[in-house]
Amino acid sequence: MSNYIPVLLFLVAVLGLTGLMMAMVIFLGPKRSNPDKELPFETGSAPSPGDARERYPVHFYLVAILFIVFDIEIAFMYPWAVKFRQLGLFGLVEMLVFAAILMFGWFYIIKRGALKWK
């Protein structure tokens, strides 16, 4: 627990630094606003019609959920890697079964062409 006090201090220090930098911008920077400046920037041409918050292709969602599955797998692998010496062959077989089941899922993703990004 006391190991985490420096982490807390560090966060406070970083927030202090960012606050200082932003305060400098507020005091030093000019504030000359005009309607054109406040428009969305689209590389110089007039903003295209329509709202930016449109619906998105479902692909991003697929990628995110596949990421979560593999992220959880890795979260299980970290304690295994640390205890690996003590667990020995037994631990290895355990992890091989776990990884094999997930790699079956991986093959399914590839076979169905779910990652063909067009």
């Binding site: 995110a64 596949l66 667990l87």
Partner: protein, 177 residues
């Protein structure tokens, strides 16, 4: 010292949890949820469960919240679902559910007895202790978790690949190329 930190963190967690359900903009709700998760991770650290705390941040605050944000982009919620659209009956049901939950919580706390946090082994929450328990005592649940994850993969691929991709994402001019 510890109790002050606990009170501050717990208050931030509660306040941001309240913000999650009261904000109009769904994106703001998700970001307050991230803050709640970070506060819960701090509470885990204070209990000595360091590995769980890091996992909380990686899996919940880092990964699942990004998924939520992607879902919001998918659904196109414009933040106009205010309180005025909710019927009084639903609010009443909500309070009833909260009351029942409170009842269960009180009943559980009465039977749970007191927990001696101070008497726990300080090494209890380290990765190594976590690995010991996970890979020996909870071997079967660990292996079953992989089947659960496999189910998630197959489910999402089956749902998304039901139609050819061309029909799903074509309404966007700039797309991703």
């Amino acid at each position: 010292m510890e109790i002050i930190l606990f009170i501050i963190t717990a208050l931030i967690a509660l306040a941001s949890a309240l913000m999650v359900i009261t904000r109009k903009s769904p994106i703001a709700s998700v970001l307050f949820l991230v803050l709640t998760f970070v506060c819960i991770a701090v509470l885990y650290v204070m209990l000595g469960a360091q590995f769980i705390a890091a996992m909380q941040i990686i899996v919940y605050a880092g990964a699942i919240m990004v998924l939520f944000l992607f879902v919001l982009m998918l659904l196109n919620l414009r933040g106009n679902q205010g309180w005025e659209n909710i019927s009084p009956a639903r609010i009443g049901l909500g309070f009833a559910a909260a009351g029942l939950l409170l009842l269960v919580a009180v009943a559980w706390l009465k039977t749970a007895g007191s927990m001696e946090v101070a008497g726990l082994d300080p090494e209890m929450g380290t990765v190594s202790a976590f690995g010991d328990v996970l890979f020996q005592r909870f071997l079967l649940p660990f292996e079953i978790a992989s089947v659960l994850l496999l189910g998630a993969i197959i489910g999402v691929v089956a749902m998304i690949k039901r139609k050819p991709l061309a029909e799903l994402g074509e309404d966007k001019e700039g797309k991703v190329s």
